[in-house]
Symmetry: D2
Subunit: 366 residues, 4 copies
């Protein structure tokens, strides 16, 4: 089935394999009149580009984006925007061995089970490079949000056992540390932890947190296309994510009702909340306060230790994975989580336009 499309009104379809000719995305439903150039998108792609720190694969990929359609004289035309990133660093040879066996923690086996065979080069479609299309589209979604006064910010909340302290949160460090942590002290600790992982031929996971300010109350479409439900799908669809939390998330299950309820009060003539355990969403609809979500990301499955597995002949074997792999993918996943959040919000902002008869009449001048 067709499963590579996300969104209904602002709809993206991503395509491309790790070692194919190119990867990219088609954005359908982007409104006309948005200023857009390649540099806008490149800035986002550069945030996920490998080879920038010690903790990311040393592959050098230019990952340069081309706008193939949908933009004319610097503005979107309302027609589909095709964004393409050619693949340039394809050392297929490195991967030939994995054609014959199933790496633990990877999708090799499940792709074979589903499709009968797979493009094994660099993981093919299940590679982290698949996120290029998501991030390129996320850049466009973020520009739309900006026009609507909405700002998104994602960062590494934890790597392995090391969590940032919200007291030490330094906005100016966003995107500046090799760990993605906006807290210099925690970031240094996390780096030490990663060094240890690398020495042990091991890998680490972590948590990405994303906060969104400026979303008006009323966004989300109950009962299935709720804002939190759509965000959960968006975030869980990112490879390696195994849990998604909204607001207080898992900890609500042990809280008492009196603690967990957020009291409303009036502030400057506006309805506000004294706390935000709900993470900005009530009944699947935004309540006007900050939206907060977290993605829990597993450790990179490509570890350099010896592992047990089976090959395509159905034999138990021992393997040693080679190649170029990130000891942790969390820092590079930050912009992916931010992109998926942006894409979800734009789709639901558009979806919400025909919610009320009075708004529709006004829109059409009646």
């Amino acid at each position: 089935m067709a499963g590579n499309t996300f969104g209904t009104y602002f709809r993206i379809t991503t395509w491309g394999e790790s070692h194919g000719k190119a990867l990219g995305v088609v954005i359908d439903g982007c409104p006309a009149g948005l200023s857009l150039c390649e540099a806008d998108i490149q800035a986002f792609l550069d945030r996920r580009k490998p080879g920038q720190t010690r903790y990311a694969t040393p592959r050098k990929e230019a990952d340069e984006v081309n706008i193939l359609s949908g933009v004319f004289e610097g503005r979107t035309t309302g027609t589909p925007i095709c964004l393409m990133v050619p693949n340039t660093s394809q050392r297929s040879g490195d991967y030939s061995e994995i054609a014959s066996y199933y790496r633990p923690g990877h999708a090799d086996y499940t792709f074979d089970a589903k499709y009968g065979f797979r493009d094994y080069r660099g993981g093919g479609r299940s590679s982290g490079r698949e996120t290029i299309g998501r991030v390129a589209a996320g850049a466009v979604a973020s520009l739309i949000l900006k026009e609507l006064g909405i700002s998104i910010c994602a960062y590494t909340k934890s790597i392995g056992p090391v969590s940032i302290s919200m007291d030490r949160f330094q906005p100016e460090l966003l995107g500046q540390t090799p760990t993605g942590m906006p807290d210099a002290e925690s970031s240094a600790q996390a780096e030490a932890y990663l060094e240890e992982c690398m020495q042990n031929h091991n890998s680490a996971g972590g948590v990405v947190e994303c906060v969104v300010d400026g979303v008006p109350a009323g966004i989300g479409e109950p009962v299935f296309d709720k804002l939190d439900a759509c965000l959960a799908k968006a975030i869980m669809s990112v490879g390696a994510v195994k849990a998604v939390e909204i607001g207080d998330g898992c900890s609500v299950s042990t809280a008492a009702g009196t603690e967990n309820n957020d009291a409303f009060y009036m502030e400057n003539g506006q309805i506000a909340k004294k706390t935000n355990h709900a993470g900005g969403i009530l009944g699947g609809i935004s309540d006007g306060s900050r939206i907060v979500l977290r993605a829990h990301i597993k450790p990179t499955p490509s570890v350099f230790s010896e592992q047990e597995t089976v090959n395509k002949n159905g034999e138990d074997i021992l393997i040693h994975i080679k190649g170029r792999h990130d000891p942790v993918i969390v820092p590079r996943a930050v912009v992916v989580v931010e992109s998926m959040t942006a894409l979800t919000l734009v789709d639901l902002l558009f979806a919400g336009m025909p919610s009320r008869m009075d708004g529709i009449k006004k829109f059409y001048g009646k």
Copy 2:
């Protein structure tokens, strides 16, 4: 926008408010030839029916299902199945007060923000009664899964601070304890905790776990309609759920790669896994092992303590909620989580049929 539909190939659309004439669901895409009668569905609905334990609202609702279409001579015809449950216990008077203010933790404010007004009786569409349509459809999905040799089982994993022990898991207690816990000792502890909550005019949350056996490897549609992504949306769309975990869930973020990878090995000529940290899903596709997910559910927001909030005139007020409310909704949510899981699986099982050219040719006799 239209947000009340779930699924693409096995597609349900739920409708109805807490105190309207009826609630129900239309199932479109149910294959022809499935044996189906009202008793099959009633059995599921009875599992979510209120008034059965001390820890559920004492409202007495018959919640009797009618099959209005799509079934002929005891079998589904392939045409839409409309299931209707008339509302019979509608004490609207109890709710008239809430028309004027916004209950903390409820969707009163966000519905008003979105739609301009709301059916305030019993929470209207944001009531837990909305799940009637989900569960009725879930009953049908479960019958389909059964025909395919797939079994689902959900249960309460924890209430407040009390968690079941997997060592004491008693399958014969499934659905038999007032807490939904299949562990007599933990269930008794949880009951004691709930008594305390009730005395304190407070409420409790908890965790529902769902496990699925028999799903063949290969189900799920990367990269957005992954099995885990679709499950996350399905489960997060249930009111009061604030986090969803797959397999080891949140704990993967602190695990090392060597621990978290599940080694493959051959068992009786089949590929198997030594562990199941992944919860049966790799790269968004089922791997043939047990699927495991958890939903974290917040405490019932309707607590009988005094609460601060605002009214529709924009005034800060104190309120005391009355009416009939569950001190914990976790036990009644078990069948809802199970239903949403079943609905997701059937949709993706159908979606997966045209994945391979050889399978399609065989299906069409070529």
Copy 3:
């Protein structure tokens, strides 16, 4: 697959069989705040009700609509609207014979081929009664259009060889003649033709034309969800329709380019067209002028002459259809074509709201 849903933003799902308990529709995506009561819908349903003229089946069906959800205190709430029409005149006995053979021109054989068996009573889901859900939803769509200053009008253009003359078009006769023709002279001729058909145990077809005024320029979503493409699907999905024309339709194929082009000119400061061969649609987008379409409807397949066919045992047989059948369905199809047109327009009007960045910013107050 699920094929009983029409529309994306304003989405209807119809359900029900000719002789089941009830038929109906769920409307999802109806904006909040529209005044709606059962009488609004009943007026539309009464236009398709049988038993009203000599040329419609003498079955007496009350076809009374119930609003089961989505309306509170006389206004839509933004939640799904379930409309139900109970079946009351179910003489199943009349149809028992057709269980064993395939009526020519009907869907008996194709339903069996697809689903393995069928609800044969009155044609089951392939009965003309299926249109009840379409018309009930069409009534709601028409109310929305009215609020936006858009008016739809459909009528019988021809029955068999008798066509109305546009010179004699009498708006006050709309819906007043037994033929659905707003031209007294042609209607009388068509009645004479139908009498002849009935005497010959035969049946007639015809053409329904639908015109829409007040649609703003800019509606339709190229390149696949064009306004004309969506209308074509909507109209062709009505049972018995075998051709759909937009504007000059088939006759464009023999026209010269200079004839067929509609010249633009300025009229009172607005762009207007000197002719309307295009039927109000250019490049799949409304151009602000009158939208014109036609549906070509086949003669009722249930004729009372002897017919050759086969039975389920694979034997050639001769049959004589009994029961209550319309000698022509065109007059009753008028409101169905009008409904499908209304549903398509509302969906695309809503779809068009997020087309331009400036419109979105203004909508969200930025």
Copy 4:
């Protein structure tokens, strides 16, 4: 809204403007294991390529296709297939004049009305070059149909007043005449008519007919996603099509029921029909006989005669269109109609797989 996607199971999204960097399509839902190479697609594209006859624009466009993803070692992988055709012959200068006014019969005005501005070069997205994506995807769909024993054949049925005679139908002439007519005598007459049109600075329309053999009975999803409804949308979405007919089409409206019904009979143990007025579709479902449809295509709106229109300043003006334009687009539309038919059929063949419980069980080995 996003309107550039066609299909649900086999889903294509086209992108690109006439004078942008490239045009193309992403195919999502193509099953794994189909043999596919660029030559397969090029063969289809060459059938729509301009510059091949006197009656097509003399622009020379290579229109060479690149497969950017979804194919590995000569077979489809089940992941999205992105096909790109770079634009090489972009004489934008020719079109600069049309930026300021609205050509009659074109989408210039409606695109401006919808989006606020447009890529005016060569018609931008409303150019006939948009069909490149449709045809490239149609080539893939046709390969799938071939594997299932289904063959499609489209041809020019008429140009202006000249229609082919089915008695003189010469299959070996398919695609061999400059008119697309598989009848040498009619083709010569049509050429004479086109010469006359060109001398008069005028243009011609015509009819494309498409027939499909080998579709099993049972394809189509009532009541909205009927086979004929989906075909009608597919065909009407092609620029310049103003009417769609199935089987006898418009002429059913004047036929008598006894004539129009197709009698069933047994032939070699199979159910067959003595006639095929229905065009192979009953109740929206294929009946196993030949599917027949026709598209009525308007004359090219770019005529070289003087025309009245308005400019963007709201002034009445006279224009003389220059540039390179086809005097008739019917011959080049043949492969587009064939492609849209193939795309619709593949989508519905896949959609039909989960129609019956017994088929699903067998598919999953239960």
